[in-house]
Subunit: 135 residues, 4 copies
């Protein structure tokens, strides 16, 4: 993480998250990461909903994740969330999933910005400033 500012978002594992192997199903981390980046922005003073109200949306165009150890029912995971990269037309979020201080997974989501007509546009300048302050 180096000097990057991160925020730790807690996620409690539910039965719904697990599969028959007793571990969190690999696809469900995408939901944990959505929660994490939403709460990251909220804690920084910004909500996805506000962005939407201004006519912007940040769809995921790429998603990578590596799983090192399983997460289990009732685990209280920490999703350590940060802004990894900001470009004029894209933003990358980075996530580390911690279980009792051990990193059990890490991933990134790549987002572009679209307007209400679903056209790709540059990130609004106020949002770029906001994100860059958090790099």
């Amino acid at each position: 993480m180096n000097s990057r500012e991160f925020i730790d978002i807690p996620v409690r594992v539910k039965y719904a998250d697990t599969d028959k192997f007793g571990v969190v199903y690999y696809g469900n981390y995408a939901i944990f990461f959505e929660k994490a980046r939403t709460e990251y922005l909220r804690q920084k003073g910004f909500t996805y909903k506000e962005l939407e109200e201004m006519g912007y949306h940040l769809p995921v165009v790429e998603f990578h994740i590596k799983y090192f150890k399983p997460a289990r029912y009732d685990d209280l995971l920490i999703v350590r969330t940060s802004v990894d990269e900001v470009k004029s037309r894209a933003v990358v979020f980075k996530y580390e999933v911690l279980k009792e201080e051990e990193k059990i997974a890490e991933g990134k989501t790549y987002h572009i910005c679209v307007n209400t007509e679903n056209k790709t546009v540059a990130l609004p300048s106020f949002f770029i400033s906001f994100l860059k302050n958090n790099l």
Copy 2:
């Protein structure tokens, strides 16, 4: 079921459907039922998508389900689907989940009809006729 016409929709259980007890998570039957009523209508010559294009939508306002036996990974379930009741402003679908011919769950979904402004309206008359033909 008596004389009601039903259609059998197959559903294969995925890892994603199961939880740590090795059985299908109780909430996931709602997804199976959505698939079943969609395919029921499609096989009868009608799609939800067409209804939408005509400006109608059938939100679920009530949902009941009883679970008799668990479903497990890779089970090929049959969701026996029928129209249970049709009123001017509501339709009820009924579902029986079969595993090797044994009923392991049964449920109902209650739907109203809303228009594009999200106002509750009467079911369109052609749709009522269609549904009544299937009672």
Copy 3:
């Protein structure tokens, strides 16, 4: 609710919870209710995980829900959770979903108790006492 003791569990609506109509998908309330009854028990001093470690599990055998109004993205819902009924071999949880103090949905889950061999058994007596104290 009358004199029943309830606990209010907050649930923030994610994109993952919504469907193309912009509202929470009807099946996802089952997940909200799982979270709510888990946190209810935890706040009362009891965890599902402990029950499991003692060799018990409380599968859902019946689930009812009525939807009055939709929940939308980023809504901070309250799931007002209580124990509705306790019998020697069953327990019923009750849930009211509130959005800005208005009830938008309500439901119940019916649970039996099984042991590690998946046999139906009586609820352990300490757990019955615990639940009855919360009626």
Copy 4:
């Protein structure tokens, strides 16, 4: 894909798969891919369930996906599935998601092999032979 043998697995998009933007939620492709690799193996004469019964399991240790265009409600997607790489201790599956013959997403899942004690082991030799025949 070059000379690789692939199998096309159809996936119909449900309301449950979509989010408030009217498109398939980014995390749900993991479920489509699970279905695709399961049916790929089944059509090749092999089931995950059999592997499990022999004491093996293939957990996902890495997952990558790129999204080019959205998928929408009732779309009949094709998940073009193939074995991308086989090593003594790992297998990689590759997926291309097609919508009316246009590629709208592509991804890979990386799997190791674990035994019933959850220890990492070499892929069983018969399974390696089977997979290599499909490269």
